[in-house]
């Protein structure tokens, strides 16, 4: 089986600025990949490219062996805190249903769509908050509901933009474990993050946007003090605990 995401010498130019170039990598099916890099290095841009919202300026980008195209039902997308301004006005259940019915014209919600939404809510452990308004949930619960909306169409590739931002450690861990479970079911997960640490228990590799280039490396290669120090422009240490846990810290 070929890779769900494959880039070959891809670059992206916005206006007259090259955001990044030399993007050549393949993401393995069923893997959890982080996208890391300093602010403005083009992490969200990469997701938008895979979604077909931004064309590659050169090179090729393929998602499931096809050029990216809007409306690809094999992709689920969780943008960064999109629920901020509407959280008060929407029930979680309705929001998740829209993930499957929101592209259909005409009236009425089909029974199958309702069942799919309920299944997605159950899969992320949000069944008991389904009838609440989004704004009444904690940040971690909101993130699960957002993920449920992306999962409801049973995507093979899940793209998440900063899903761990503003979450406390416990909620971060719960969301990451959920992503790990999805990869175990064969879903390829790509996560934009600022901090690799919460992902490390399930992480397979990372796309790192560094010096205007997009690189990919498996986890052993990426969690490297020298690379991370270069990446963030500040001293970073990689620590392995006696239990074998890996984490990075600012020195």
């Amino acid at each position: 089986m070929s890779a769900p995401v494959a880039l070959r010498d891809a670059s992206v130019v916005l206006g007259d600025r090259t955001i990044w170039s030399h993007g050549t990598f393949e993401l393995p099916a069923g893997s959890l990949t982080a996208v890391i890099g300093p602010n403005g290095s083009g992490k969200t841009t990469l997701l938008k490219m895979l979604l077909g919202l931004l064309p590659a300026s050169s090179g090729t980008v393929q998602v499931f062996d096809l050029p990216p195209e809007r409306g690809n039902t094999r992709i689920g997308y969780v943008p960064q805190h999109y629920t901020d301004h509407v959280g008060n006005a929407v029930r979680c259940r309705d929001l998740v249903r829209l993930g499957v019915s929101g592209t259909r014209w005409g009236l009425g919600t089909r029974a199958a769509e309702k069942a799919d939404a309920d299944a997605a809510l159950a899969a992320v452990g949000a069944t008991d908050v389904a009838d609440r308004r989004l704004s009444q949930l904690s940040g971690g619960q909101q993130q699960r509901v957002a993920i449920a909306q992306a999962l409801v169409g049973r995507p093979d590739l899940l793209l998440l933009d900063e899903p761990l931002a503003n979450l406390d450690l416990r909620n971060q861990r719960e969301v990451v474990d959920l992503l790990g479970q999805l990869t175990a079911h064969g879903v390829t997960v790509v996560v934009v993050v600022h901090d690799l640490n919460p992902l490390l228990p399930h992480l397979d590799g990372a796309v790192y946007l560094l010096d205007g280039h997009a690189h990919y490396g498996p986890v052993a290669e990426v969690v490297d003090a020298e690379l991370l120090t270069h990446l963030y422009g500040t001293q970073v240490k990689v620590v392995r605990t006696a239990q074998g846990d890996l984490f990075t810290r600012g020195a």
Binding site: I75, Y82, L98, L107, D131
Partner: protein
């Protein structure tokens, strides 16, 4: 209240006045506005369309007075300006909201033009008052037909685009990624808003239309977050405001706009008070009690 009653003059024959044909027209027209506002209401609130409602009211003003100057129906001028204005705001997208200074300046210019047109056509003092403050009692049977047509069109369009419009409203980035025509739906929504504003101006005027276009759905949204129930609740509140307002204005022989706005305001205040505790801030979301909303 005593002073108001004395100044107003109690109408002892108010019940028979309510049966007059012009009053029937007023009830039907006001009810159609309430229904149209309820149909569009959920989207108005979720899309933060308050600004657009406000802006379209201002843009419609020179349309109405200009139409009188040209000797055509003010409703026609109002509708044309509102719809064209809606398309322009829709094409500007979020920028119209962000560029507060530019937008405010354009709106001031529009209102200025409205006054200019009005003073050029000398016989339009009443038009100016009617457009600014509304006059349901002046609605003709012909206008009723137009209102009914607008409302039916709105229902039809929303039946088709409602769900994608909802996705585009609550999660625009997801909608865009899924291939939903977000920008086009935004324009469609604003054109419907233009039709609604055209109707609402006739009922309560450009200065008060907020009370019929925004307040009822915003009030209903405090009671329920289900879109169909927000629509029904908003329609109910709008009908109470129009019906109650017209009845009170007949009893006291005063223009209806004030009373319509007052009833809408009152329902909002009561709902606000009654639902204060149902809008927990984040703390309550952490514990796991299951009170429904």
């Amino acid at each position: 209240m005593g002073l108001l009653l004395a100044g107003a003059g109690w109408q002892s024959n108010w019940a028979s006045v309510l049966g007059e044909p012009f009053m029937r027209n007023a009830f039907v027209a006001g009810s159609l506005v309430a229904v149209a506002a309820g149909l569009l209401g959920y989207f108005v609130v979720v899309r933060q369309g308050e600004f657009a409602a406000h802006a379209l009211g201002h843009i419609g003003f020179p349309g109405a007075t200009g139409a009188v100057l040209l000797g055509v129906s003010p409703l026609l001028g109002l509708g044309a300006f509102c719809v064209v204005g809606a398309v322009v705001i829709g094409l500007l997208g979020a920028r119209a909201n962000e560029r507060a200074t530019a937008t405010g300046t354009v709106l001031a210019m529009a209102t200025g033009l409205g006054i200019l047109f009005a003073s050029l056509a000398t016989r339009t003092t009443s038009t100016v008052t009617n457009v600014l403050f509304g006059n349901l009692l002046a609605v003709t049977t012909g206008q009723l037909a137009v209102f009914a047509g607008f409302t039916a069109l709105m229902a039809l369009v929303l039946a088709v685009v409602g769900r994608p419009l909802m996705l585009a409203s609550v999660a625009p980035e997801v909608a865009e990624a899924k291939g939903v025509p977000v920008r086009a739906l935004g324009v469609v929504f604003l054109v419907l808003m233009g039709l609604l504003v055209t109707m609402a101006v006739q009922a309560v005027g450009t200065l008060l239309l907020f009370a019929l276009v925004v307040t009822p759905p915003a009030t209903a949204l405090r009671l329920t977050a289900r879109p169909s129930r927000v629509a029904m609740g908003s329609i109910a509140i709008g009908l109470v405001a129009v019906g109650g307002g017209l009845t009170l204005s007949t009893m006291l022989n005063l223009p209806p706009s004030f009373f319509i706005v007052a009833v809408s305001f009152l329902v909002w205040v009561v709902t606000l008070g009654a639902t204060r505790r149902r809008f927990p801030s984040v703390e309550v979301a952490h514990d796991h009690d299951h009170h429904h909303c």
